[in-house]
């Protein structure tokens, strides 16, 4: 019985982390999947969200800014808002750049954000980070606190999913697809390309901030390592590409699946002797990289490929509906 309880708790932790990564992956899906904006600085927006959550909710402590003790939901909204503001600033400058340049610019921004959190010790306690971050429902008895937190994370994922599905099939989402597929044509159709891309980038950044705020609560402590480009940016990209870019279900599936792979390999390798256990962490990264390369070459559309919304009934007329552009060639 004891053993099953352990499995149960492990399953809950998988769902929690998978859910938090699903929030990040859905955020990236708005930017990369819908609109084709290659944001290589996920880690930066994630860190902004995590630090806002930490600073606003922790009790007063001499080594860092704090003592505001905001209620957790309010702090999460603030984390989203500040990430969105940072995203707006970044987008205002970089959104016109070609995909590669945007990637370089955003990876640079993530590095600068990391430098700020590392160097501004008065606010963030520098490399030592912030601990004792309050977590939602932690006052409930075990295991109800864990269960309630999982439920909250999954409910947030569900709400985001429904909202993004609505956005995807709405005219807004169709304009995004148009911009991604053919920017010039979208502009010629009278769409303000820059404005739409800006909106997409800001919404994605806000979701990444929310992911950071959830992670800060779950881990209860953060330091500048949270914006490590590896775990934050790379893993999220692999999740989205594996699950299926531009498919919201795919984004969630990819996050859950890749997190399970990531976590399960950790359990396997931690059983090895110490000497290998430390080094095997690098084997895991290599493996994730290899999975990415395999998917890119063999199944670039991911496990769940993109499904375009059906055209409006009035517009269907004589032509057969092109539900999936990939299958129009017979």
């Amino acid at each position: 019985m004891e053993q099953y309880y352990g499995y149960f708790l492990y399953l809950l932790s998988l769902l929690t982390m998978g859910g938090i990564y699903a929030v990040l992956t859905l955020g990236l899906n708005v930017q990369w999947g819908f609109t084709g904006l290659f944001n290589a600085g996920i880690a930066g927006f994630f860190a902004v969200g995590a630090y806002v959550q930490a600073i606003l909710t922790t009790p007063i402590y001499a080594r860092h800014l704090g003592g505001y003790e905001w209620p957790i939901p309010l702090a999460m909204l603030a984390a989203m808002a500040l990430s969105a503001v940072v995203g707006y600033g970044v987008a205002k400058i970089c959104i016109r750049l070609r995909a590669d340049y945007l990637a370089i610019a955003t990876i640079g921004i993530a590095e600068i954000i990391r430098l700020v959190f590392k160097n501004e010790g008065w606010a963030t306690n520098g490399p030592r980070g912030i601990s004792q971050i309050p977590k939602a429902f932690e006052d409930l008895p075990q295991p109800w606190n864990t269960l309630a937190f999982v439920a909250m994370v999954l409910a947030i994922v569900m709400v985001i999913y429904l909202a993004l599905e609505r956005a995807r099939t709405a005219p807004w989402g169709r304009v995004m697809t148009a911009i991604r597929e053919n920017e010039a044509a979208a502009a010629a159709a009278g769409k303000n390309v820059e404005r739409f891309r800006l909106e997409s980038f800001v919404i994605g950044s806000a979701l990444m901030g929310l992911g950071g705020a959830l992670m800060a609560q779950y881990l209860k402590q953060i330091d500048p390592q949270v914006s490590d480009p590896l775990t934050a940016t790379f893993l999220v990209f692999v999740m989205l590409i594996a699950g299926g870019s531009a498919n919201n279900k795919g984004a969630i599936l990819g996050a859950m699946l890749m997190w399970t792979v990531w976590s399960a390999t950790e359990i396997l390798t931690s059983r090895l002797p110490d000497e290998f256990a430390i080094r095997s962490a690098y084997v895991r990264i290599f493996l994730i990289g290899l999975i990415l390369q395999f998917i890119l070459q063999r199944r670039p559309q991911g496990i769940l490929p993109e499904r375009r919304p059906k055209p409006h009934p009035r517009l269907r007329g004589d032509r057969a509906p092109a539900a999936n552009t990939g299958s129009t060639k017979q």
């Binding site: 600068i112 430098l115 890119l296």
Partner: protein, 296 residues
């Protein structure tokens, strides 16, 4: 004044040389394969670790074994190109960017697996400034780095202007369709690009290793300044990349000089941000770079 020269300008020039060598590879890959290669920094790290092993094995000076490391690294990079980049030759550039992003972490994890993550040194002992040049503080390594950089630049210049393959590379960089029409074999040009980029990256990495130390993140830390140098100089323009590298290296070091009052103008912790700020400014106002490179 002497302090300015010794502690800001000379390190800036040395750093600039290192950035310049690395940026040539980025600029050429950008111009010829038409994608920004995120794995370039970690290719450099790989070359440095191969050099380190050769030094430990042979006991020779790092600069003596570096050419062998360049050859080995080139071989590995050509293998990686075949496996991971070749399938995407006709795909949108972003596929190559994602592939290189993944490769960057794969190369690094291999290095961390085999060599470990602790700091290592290419050379033992402390470098003293050369007495003959005092009060200008120039260490032997600084002179070696600057001298070897000048030699390598001259070699690059000769290859690009005097040899058939160099001319083909420049033609492909200027206009790939036209170059292919005149009968230039694109695959040969691509291989030459990788060879040149990887060799220069290894040289840059070894110089950095001589100047500081060897660690697994060294290449990644150089990635942003190298991109900045390539963009500043104009994409696809190797000479521009050299100028860009020197400007970025010197600007980074001078940013910490107490220009106003006695405190550093910019806290040294933010040195890494200088390259980035220059790059973003260029991308917004002058995306073709100082030397009129290709504008995407």
């Amino acid at each position: 004044m002497m302090a300015f020269l010794n502690f800001y300008l000379i390190p800036g020039v040395v750093l600039g040389c290192i950035y310049a060598l690395g940026a040539i590879g980025i600029s050429l890959t950008f111009g010829i394969l038409r994608f920004s290669n995120f794995a370039h920094g970690d290719t450099m790290t790989l070359g440095v670790y191969i050099t380190l092993s050769l030094v430990q094995f042979s006991g020779l000076h790092p600069l003596l074994v570096a050419p062998l490391a360049m050859v080995l690294t080139t071989g590995i990079v050509l293998g990686l190109d075949r496996t991971f980049y070749k399938p995407f030759r006709t795909s949108p550039a972003i596929m190559l960017v994602i592939a290189s992003f993944g490769l960057m972490l794969m190369i690094r994890s291999v290095i961390q697996f085999f060599w470990g993550v602790q700091l290592q040194a290419l050379q033992t002992g402390i470098q003293m400034p050369l007495e003959a040049l005092l009060p200008v503080r120039f260490s032997e390594n600084h002179l070696l780095i600057i001298g070897a950089t000048v030699l390598l630049m001259m070699a690059v210049h000769l290859v690009l202007t005097r040899t058939k393959i160099g001319k083909a590379m420049r033609a492909t960089s200027d206009n790939p369709e036209l170059a292919a029409l005149t009968g230039i074999d694109t695959e040969v040009v691509i291989r030459a690009t990788w060879a040149m980029g990887a060799s220069l990256a290894v040289a840059a990495g070894v110089f950095l290793g001589l100047d500081t130390h060897v660690e697994t993140m060294m290449g990644f830390k150089l990635l942003l300044p190298m991109f900045a140098a390539a963009i500043l100089g104009g994409i696809g323009k190797p000479y521009g990349a050299v100028a860009g590298g020197l400007v970025i290296g010197i600007a980074e070091e001078l940013s910490a000089y107490p220009w106003i009052g006695t405190t550093p103008l910019l806290s040294p912790g933010y040195k890494g941000g200088v390259a980035f700020a220059i790059m973003v400014a260029m991308l917004i106002w002058k995306p073709q770079g100082l030397f009129r490179g290709r504008q995407f």
